[in-house]
């Protein structure tokens, strides 16, 4: 459950991007939690999130109503929503504090402002999941496994689109690692493209591996 982590962008863009997750802990406090969650849903909706999501029904942005989300609550209900302003996100935390439902709450957003808010509201943060960022890759670069295949042609003639598409075909079982290698390595006419290594790299895409 780290899908709200690793957001990328400048501080300017991230300063108003908060993701709120309210979660019942299965086997601990999920029984009888639907009523509290229902209240939280109403409270969050009133504050005005950019979106409320639900794995069961879909998101409000895609046209799902609040009632549909509510009726879609499972035995272990969850609320996932995003706020486009710090003020709204912190207002939601304040409201959750008042409702005191005992559900777990996480807020993903800029750490400095979040910690200051906690201090202001008298909340002692419990634990934290910190993104350590993506290492060694630059914004314009594709994934490491694509780079591994790309950089064997130092002239850059084996492009990312072809590699990504070919890897996908191997993943889908439409191409064998060997055929995938034969498909992409002719592009590097120098012959320094190590076909043996390429095949091994493609083998990592085979579904069973």
């Amino acid at each position: 459950m780290t899908h709200s982590l690793h957001r990328r962008g400048t501080d300017e863009y991230l300063k108003n991007d908060f993701t709120l997750l309210v979660t019942a802990a299965s086997g601990v406090n999920h029984i009888g939690s639907r009523e509290g969650m229902s209240k939280i849903l109403d409270a969050v909706w009133e504050i005005g999130p950019t979106n409320i999501g639900s794995n069961e029904t879909g998101t409000t942005l895609s046209g799902v109503t609040l009632e549909q989300i509510r009726s879609g609550f499972t035995k272990v209900p969850r609320i996932r929503c995003n706020f486009g302003s710090k003020g709204k996100a912190f207002a939601a935390i304040k409201k959750l504090q008042e409702l005191d439902t005992g559900m777990s709450v996480t807020l993903s957003g800029p750490i400095e402002a979040t910690l200051a808010m906690c201090k202001e509201y008298g909340i002692k943060p419990h634990s934290i999941n910190l993104s350590l960022d993506v290492w060694g890759k630059k914004d314009k670069l594709p994934a490491e496994e694509v780079l591994e295949l790309m950089t064997m042609c130092g002239h850059g003639l084996v492009g990312r689109t072809l590699i990504e598409e070919t890897m996908e075909k191997v993943r889908q079982g439409k191409l064998s690692p060997q055929k995938a290698t034969v498909k992409i390595s002719p592009l590097c006419i120098c012959g320094i493209y190590n076909t043996d290594r390429a095949e091994k790299l493609f083998e990592k895409c085979v579904p069973s591996k």
Binding site: K138, K140, L141, P142, L147, M150, T151, G154, H155, G156, L157, V158, G159, R160, T161, L162, E165, P186, L187, I189, C190
Partner: protein
């Protein structure tokens, strides 16, 4: 490169092959984005176009467009070096040329690599700073040839917007300047508009060690363990 719109059947086979993603699918046909195409020739060489619609128009070879092909297509030759490729023979023939002597380091910054491409003008971000450091750019390098004045690092105005798959800036520094020059490059890189791959060339010490690795680590630059070694077979061997 261009796609003959009369012939193209819009099958889209060529699309993934372009390293720059410059082939676009239109309503019924595919087209090459003329501004993004770096003239690497992959489409014409490797795509089995069923109707042979991909062609090299005469404009490809007209100045300043022509620089795209010489920098991006390894099969084309730089007229000013006689060597194919984007740079010099660098370490490949160092045992014979002594291009990089003991007491000196060779540095090569390859802009646009890996697989992103660069506008030639974008390299100025670094070349201007290096020129201020009184770096002397390698005269046999095709990118130096495209500088208005190698003492300023400014690229000629008419080629500045030309996009290439990659271009290499090459120069030599005295050993004692390593930390100063590398720190300058790292600082400038954080503001650069494009991406570059970076290499350093050095002689092995008589005892076979490479002290440069530790010196670079001391200033936060990690070297790749995958290195390109001139094994010393070239003759006549030219000592420093």
């Amino acid at each position: 490169m261009k796609i003959n719109q009369e012939l193209c059947v819009g099958c889209g086979q060529c699309l993934p092959y372009c390293p720059m993603g410059a082939i676009e699918r239109g309503k019924d046909t595919s087209r090459i984005n003329w501004d993004e195409c770096v003239e690497c020739g992959i489409c014409i060489r490797q795509v089995k176009c069923p109707v042979k619609a991909i062609y090299e128009p005469k404009e490809t070879l007209e100045w300043p467009r022509s620089v795209r092909k010489v920098f991006s297509d390894p099969t084309s030759k730089h007229e000013n070096t006689g060597v194919r490729g984007r740079g010099t023979e660098e370490v490949k023939t160092n045992d014979v040329t002594a291009r990089f002597k003991r007491g000196f380091f060779g540095i090569a910054l390859e802009f646009g690599r890996p697989g992103v491409g660069t506008r030639l003008g974008d390299v100025e971000m670094i070349t201007k700073v290096l020129a201020e450091e009184e770096i002397v750019f390698e005269s046999a390098n095709p990118l130096t040839f495209l500088m208005e004045d190698p003492r300023t690092g400014i690229i000629k105005a008419d080629v500045r917007n030309e996009k290439v798959l990659s271009g290499i800036v090459e120069f030599v520094i005295p050993q004692e300047n390593l930390e100063r020059v590398c720190t300058k490059i790292v600082d400038t890189a954080s503001k650069a508009k494009c991406i570059f791959s970076w290499t350093i060339i050095t002689r092995f010490e008589p005892d076979g060690t490479l002290p440069v690795v530790a010196r670079l680590e001391n200033i936060g630059i990690k070297t790749s363990k995958n290195m390109k070694v001139n094994v010393g077979l070239g003759r006549p061997l030219r000592e420093d």
